[in-house]
């Protein structure tokens, strides 16, 4: 097993996780847990490949992917804020709606059942980075990815800057920390939450487009394979801070990359490595839970210790 090769594929595998994690992180910072990341991505993946197949243009495909994902995010936000649906139930409904709808459209529009691929679909081509490619080991890991990979990692500092160095970011975090205080200070709470949800959709749109047009060049039912959930795990583990979240997403991506390679060498079960993100998150929740219970949580809406 070539360690450099594994790291190279870890960067690749982590890319959709980074997109989804950055999207989910924005809503997390605004005080919402968006569990529909998978739904956003699958819709984008489908819209991307369908547009690419119809027009042959990658740019149009990317735009279609982002727009479709944002529309789904708008649907979810409308139900959550306008109709006051429980955000979790809405999230589950939107996710499974998206799974079902893409599978249905795959048959209805593209005429395929389960998997769609075609030689005529254009594909994002790998880019050799000018100077980095010459660095001995690092070059082989970092260079030769598609543009969407680099964009994903560029989003990390951009989002960190937006959240921590702009007025908008301050308000988003304020909405997340203390919505009542934010409302009292004149911040439009619902509007900001709506905005973060739409941005979440846009980022997942990139992630979905990456999945179907760059990571592989096909569409399969439920092809997001719970990447949204892993991204959510990363967000939870890193408490929604952009850089740590991205690092955790990279680690989870590495575990996934290893779970593909390691069994080929050692014959171990891939499931045990794939378990890592979920188990780590549950453990993190336990630790956080114990700590919060000790520090007598102030705004626990439904704690049992009422005395």
């Amino acid at each position: 097993m070539d360690i450099v090769e594994v790291l190279y594929s870890a960067v690749r595998v982590s890319t959709p996780l980074v997109y989804a994690a950055m999207g989910g992180l924005l809503t997390y910072q605004a005080g919402m847990l968006n569990i529909a990341l998978d739904g956003f991505m699958i819709v984008a993946a489908f819209a991307g490949i369908a547009t690419a197949f119809a027009t042959g243009s990658l740019e149009l495909a990317l735009i279609a992917a982002v727009i479709s994902s944002v529309l789904l995010a708008a649907l979810m936000a409308t139900f959550t804020f306008r109709f006051k649906a429980d955000i979790f139930i809405a999230g589950i409904a939107v996710t499974f709606l998206a799974y079902g709808l893409t599978a249905l459209l795959l048959k209805g529009v593209l005429g395929e059942d389960g998997v769609f691929m075609s030689n005529t679909i254009p594909r994002f081509s790998p880019i050799v980075l000018p100077f980095i490619a010459d660095i001995p080991v690092l070059g082989r890991i970092l260079s030769g990815h598609t543009i969407l990979v680099y964009v994903a990692y560029l989003f990390i500092p951009v989002i960190a800057f937006a959240l921590y160095s702009t007025r908008w970011g301050l308000r988003v975090r304020m909405v997340g920390e203390a919505p009542e205080a934010a409302a009292a200070a004149g911040v439009k709470v619902t509007s900001l939450k709506f905005q973060t949800m739409l941005l979440s959709g846009a980022l997942c749109g990139f992630g979905g487009a990456y999945l179907s047009l760059a990571y592989v060049s096909l569409f399969a039912n439920q092809m997001t394979a719970e990447r949204g959930l892993i991204a959510l795990a990363a967000i939870f583990f890193a408490k929604g801070r952009p850089l740590p979240t991205a690092l955790v997403a990279l680690l989870f991506g590495l575990a996934t990359a290893l779970s593909v390679r390691l069994p080929q060498v050692t014959g171990a079960a891939p499931q045990l490595l794939q378990l890592i993100p979920y188990v780590v998150t549950v453990l993190a929740l336990v630790i956080v839970g114990v700590r919060t219970a000790r520090a007598s949580n102030k705004h626990g809406a439904w704690k049992f210790a009422l005395d």
Partner: protein, 370 residues
């Protein structure tokens, strides 16, 4: 808020609650039906023809009805599991994982223990119940003890269950042969089937009995009343002298156990062994079933029958039209989405202060607390 809207629920509370229990689901179904018809039309098919295929494919003739009953059985268990927990204000969306673990337990006990059928079947069922309960214990305990959001834990426990059971079915206890499955359960652990048309088995009777028993518990016992009060207002329940953490833990475990029974029925009745990744998402369908039933155990029978019928009718779509069975999934989760919104509309009209709407676990401040 005007006087009329405030007094409306209080004048005839029984009538309003009955109305909302029946009208809301029917409205949601109508909305889903119309949106589904538009979608079908957009895909170039005739919606009347498609809906007729769904109905005739599931209800025309004894064989079709038997298949519908077979498809309905797991939904009864998972729908009931979700309904029990939601009624007590606990959102157990981990029924999928609990079912898988229950199925694995039933599968292991089914082939590893040799007993006469009279003991073997109950033992397997008990094992499945215990397995589901154990899987539910993690979110339940974290919820009750530390106030950790049970939804997130449930979400994570689902893939863990899938991967772990997959590990058992592909490595630890894999039966010889190309398929990823456990060895077949012994004949003594099999649930008897009624006919050769479908795999419908005694599990269906168990599920129906369970629905009726739970309906009686809910309506006629102190325990059932306590669950309802905890769901409506844990604070009120606490000041009324109910041991809220203990009851909530019990409900959550019961819910997990019932979800585990779905796995037992699948393994002991329909497949005869634990197959890796056997579930097409019955646990998540259970959410739709429970919501359409408005969390009433008898309502679960109706909504499980409806979704079971749609599922069994959808097989025909693949052959006769350019659509797939996923149309049913789309309809199902439109219903969930509409009903999710509907629930809050009810709350809004029933409670004066908006702040009191957070009687169910509040989602708005969960991130700061967990």
């Amino acid at each position: 808020m005007s006087v009329e809207t405030l007094s409306a629920p209080t004048t005839r509370p029984y009538l309003t609650s009955l109305l909302s229990a029946v009208v809301n689901p029917i409205m949601a179904l109508a909305i889903a039906g119309i949106l589904g018809a538009l979608l079908v039309m957009a895909l170039g098919e005739n919606p009347f023809e498609v809906y007729w295929l769904l109905i005739s494919g599931s209800l025309a003739g004894i064989p079709n009805i038997l298949v519908t009953l077979q498809m309905m059985t797991p939904l009864l268990f998972t729908g009931l599991a979700v309904a029990i927990s939601f009624r007590a204000g606990l959102a157990n969306i981990g029924a999928e994982g609990q079912m898988l673990v229950g199925a694995l337990c039933a599968g292991i006990v089914g082939f590893a223990v040799d007993l006469p059928a009279l003991l073997h079947v109950p033992l397997c069922i008990a094992a499945a119940f215990a397995g589901g309960m154990a899987w539910a214990a993690v979110p339940a305990f974290l919820r009750v003890k530390f106030g950790v959001n049970e939804l997130v834990v449930c979400l994570m426990m689902n893939p863990i269950a899938l991967l772990l059971t997959g590990y058992f079915a592909t490595h630890v206890l894999k039966a010889p042969g190309p398929t990823n499955k456990l060895p077949d359960v012994l004949p003594s652990a099999k649930l008897s089937t009624f006919s050769f048309y479908s795999q419908v088995n005694t599990g269906l009777i168990l599920a129906l009995v369970l629905c009726v028993v739970l309906a009686i518990i809910n309506a006629r016992t102190v325990r059932g009343f306590e669950w309802k009060i905890i769901g409506l207002s844990p604070k009120f329940a606490y000041y009324g002298g109910i041991d809220v953490p203990k009851r909530a833990l019990n409900v959550f475990l019961l819910s997990g156990g019932v979800a585990g029974l779905a796995g037992a029925e699948q393994v002991m009745g329909q497949f005869g062994a634990y197959y890796d990744n056997f579930s097409p998402g019955y646990g998540f369908d259970g959410i739709a079933v429970a919501m359409l039933a408005q969390f009433h155990p008898i309502g679960v029978i109706f909504s499980a029958f409806l979704f079971g019928a749609l599922n069994s009718g959808s097989g025909v779509l693949q052959m006769m039209t350019g659509l797939t069975k996923h149309l049913v999934q789309v309809l199902q989760f439109i219903v969930v989405l509409v009903l999710a919104a509907k629930i809050s509309w009810d709350w809004l009209t029933h409670f004066k202060k908006p702040s009191e709407i957070t009687m169910r676990p509040s989602r708005s401040s969960t991130t700061s607390e967990t």
